[in-house]
Symmetry: C2
C-alpha cells in the first residue's frame, strides 16, 4: 500500500506523464480531469451518473460552500463527501478566485479590500461582508474535508508585471506559508499555487518560493482568465520545468479538449473546468473535434446520436432530434443528458491520453487529435 499523498509516476513521454496520486479516498490515476461541483453538486447529474461518465475526482468550491450551507454544517454532517454522496477523491479550491471574480457587490457598491492579512469581500448572494485570511480558509477547507485542499492565493490581473512582482506574489507566497503552518488535517493534501501572470521570470520565482516551502502537489493558478491561448501555453512551458517531477501538477480552471492535450504535453497532471457542464445547460454538445448547438433546427429530425462514436448514456439511447426537442421544450432532461455527454467526452479523452502516455504513443495521439480537429468544418 502506497503512503498517503505519494505520487507514483507510471510512464513518461517527453514532458507528458501518467501517474497515480494516493488520496484518502483511494488512488487517483493521472492525468485526470475534475468536473466542477460548485455547490456540492455537479449541476444536473447525480453522483451515480457522474461515476458512469468516468469521473474520478470532483471539485467543490470553498467560497460557495462557506456561504451556503456553511462549512461547519457540512463538517457536522460528516464532510463534503458524505454531504454530496461522492465517495471518491475530492478537491476544494481556496475561494480566492471567486473572491476576486464573483464577490465584491454590483460595481456601485463594490467592496473587496485586500491587505497583507487577508481579503474582505461581499457575498454575491446577500451582499453581506465576509473576510478570508489564510487561517480562515484552512479552517473552512478542513471542515469541508476534501482529499486535496488549496492554499489561499491572490488572483490579480495576469499582465500587470509591477503589481504581481511587488504585491501579489510576495503576498501569495506569505499566505501559502501561513496556510501550511496551520493546516493539520492528516487525510488532506494541501497544494501550493504558483502565480505570476504571463511572465516566465515571475512564474519561475513563484515556483521556487513554493517548492522551498514544500507541498505534496503544486497548482498553476491565474490562467484562463483572459490571456491568449499562446500566452497560456508559453506560461506552462516556463512553469512546469520549475516544479518537482515527483509531485502532481494541477492547472486550475482549464479547460477545453485541446487544453487537456496541450497541458498534458507540458507536464500537467490535474485539470478542472466548468466548461463541459456549463455549456451543456445552454444546449452545447462537446466533441473532441468541436461542438454543436443542439437547438439548431437542422437537428429537428435527426435520428443519429450526438456523436456516433460516443458510448455515453445519452448517445446510446437518444437521438439529436430528441435532445433538441428537450431544449426547445425547456425540459430539465436536456441539461442532464448533455452534461452526461460532455463530461464523458472530456473524461474519455483524458483516459485515452493517459493510455497513450502509458503506451508511449502520446506524440502520435496528439498529432492525430489535431489532425482530426483540422478536418472539421464546424
Amino acid at each position: 500500500m502506497a503512503s498517503l499523498f505519494a505520487f507514483d509516476l507510471v510512464a513518461r513521454e517527453g514532458l507528458a506523464r501518467a501517474g497515480v496520486f494516493h488520496t484518502a479516498h483511494g488512488p487517483l490515476p493521472t492525468p485526470v480531469y475534475a468536473p466542477v461541483g460548485t455547490q456540492a453538486t455537479v449541476k444536473a447529474v447525480t453522483p451515480r451518473q457522474l461515476q458512469e461518465t468516468g469521473t474520478s475526482l470532483v471539485l467543490a468550491n470553498t467560497y460557495h460552500l462557506y456561504l451556503r450551507p456553511g462549512d461547519a454544517l457540512i463538517a457536522a454532517l460528516g464532510g463534503v463527501h458524505r454531504f454530496m454522496g461522492w465517495d471518491g477523491p475530492m478537491l476544494t479550491d481556496s475561494g480566492g478566485f471567486q473572491v476576486f471574480s464573483l464577490a465584491g457587490g454590483d460595481g456601485k457598491q463594490s467592496l473587496r479590500k485586500i491587505d497583507d492579512d487577508g481579503v474582505t469581500f461581499r457575498s454575491h448572494i446577500d451582499g453581506r461582508t465576509h473576510r478570508f485570511t489564510p487561517e480562515k480558509v484552512m479552517e473552512i477547507e478542513q471542515n469541508l474535508g476534501a482529499d486535496i485542499a488549496m492554499v489561499l492565493d491572490e488572483c490579480s490581473a495576469p499582465d500587470d508585471y509591477g503589481y504581481l512582482k511587488r504585491q501579489a506574489l510576495p503576498r501569495t507566497h506569505a499566505w501559502a506559508e501561513r496556510c501550511r503552518a496551520v493546516h493539520s488535517r492528516p487525510d488532506q493534501a494541501l497544494f501550493g499555487i504558483v502565480q505570476g501572470g504571463i511572465f516566465p521570470d515571475l512564474r519561475q520565482a513563484s515556483a521556487e518560493a513554493l517548492v522551498a516551502l514544500g507541498f505534496p502537489g503544486y497548482a498553476i493558478g491565474g490562467l484562463s482568465v483572459g490571456e491568449s491561448k499562446a500566452e497560456m501555453l508559453a506560461t506552462l512551458d516556463a512553469t512546469t520545468p520549475a516544479l518537482p517531477e515527483d509531485k502532481p501538477r494541477y492547472l486550475m480552471g482549464v479547460g477545453t479538449p485541446e487544453d487537456l492535450v496541450e497541458g498534458v504535453a507540458r507536464g500537467i497532471d490535474i485539470f478542472d473546468c466548468v466548461l463541459p457542464t456549463r455549456v451543456a445547460r445552454n444546449g452545447q454538445a462537446l466533441l473532441r473535434t468541436g461542438k454543436y448547438n443542439m437547438r439548431n433546427a437542422r437537428f429537428a429530425d435527426d435520428p443519429a446520436p450526438i456523436n456516433e462514436a460516443c458510448e455515453c448514456y445519452a448517445c446510446r439511447g437518444f437521438s439529436r432530434a430528441y435532445i433538441r426537442h428537450l431544449f426547445v421544450a425547456k425540459e430539465i432532461l436536456g441539461a442532464t443528458l448533455l452534461t452526461i455527454h460532455n463530461l464523458h467526452t472530456m473524461l474519455s479523452l483524458m483516459s485515452d491520453v493517459r493510455a497513450a502516455v502509458v503506451a508511449g504513443r502520446f506524440t502520435d495521439f496528439r498529432a492525430a487529435f489535431w489532425e482530426a480537429r483540422e478536418g472539421e468544418t464546424e
Copy 2:
C-alpha cells in the same frame, strides 16, 4: 402467451382487483400508477431512473406532442417509445382535457369553439389555431404509437347537469364511436372514456353507452377537476359497477396516495397524475402519511433521509439537509432527487396495494394505511 389486450384477473377482494393487462410492450401488472411524461419526458429524470423507481407504465400528452415536436416527426423517428427511450408500456391521453384546460389563449383572446364535429383551439405555446376532431386525434395517437390510446371526449364542468346530459355526453359518445371507427393500429388498445360529472345517473348512462360500443378498457374522466373528494369517491361508487369486470378501468388524472388506495377499493386498475413530479420540483416530498416541504429551515442540519423507511436512490444516499441545500441553492439535482423519491413513494404504495390484494389482505392494508395517516400531525 396471452392475447394482446387481454386482461387477466389474478385476485379480487371486494371491488379491489389485481390483474395483468397485456400490451404490445409486455404484460402490465395492475393496479398500476403511471408517471406523467407530458413532453415525452417525465420531468427531471432519465428513463433509467424512472425504471429504478418501479415505473411500468408512462403517460405522454397528445396535445403537447402534437404541438411540439409534432406527431408526424415522432412517427418518422420510430414512435414515442423510441423517441423518449422508454421500452415499456405507454399510454397517451386524447388531448381533450388539455384543450379544455390549457388552450384557448389568455382570456382576452380566448378561442375554444366546440361543435359536434370537433373543437377549435389556440396553442398555449404560440397562440396559433388548431382543430381536433375524433379522426384527427386518432391519427395523432396512432402516429405517437403508445400501447394504450384514449378516445377524444368533451371535458366540461362536472356539476352542470343540463349541459352534460344534453350536450357533452351525447357528443362524447358520438366521438367515442367515431374514434373506434377510424382507429386501426393493431398494436394499440383504444380505451373509451366515461363522463357525466358528479351525477350517478349520467355516469351510469355514459358507461352503458361506451360498453355498448365495446372497448378493451374504460377510463373514468372528468374527475379531480374541482369537485370534493367525497363527490369523486361517490362518483366512482356509482360508475365502476357499470363497467365490465374483465376490462381494465382507468381513473384519469388521479391522484394522491389516498386516492390510489380508495380508487383500488372501488375497482380502479390504472391511475396517472402529475402530482408527485410537479410537487417534487417545488420542493415537496411525498410520504404515504403526508408531505414535507424540504425547504423548511428545520431540515437545515437534519442528517436523516427524507423517509427512513424508503429504499429509493434519494433516501439511500442523501440527507434532508443536503436536499434542502439543493433547493435553497436552486440546484437541478434537488428536483431530480425529489422526483425519484416521490415516484418511488407512489409506485411502492401501488406495488404494496397489489401484493395486499393478491394475498387477500387489502382490507387490513387499507385500514392500516388510514390509521398511519391519522397518527401524523404533518
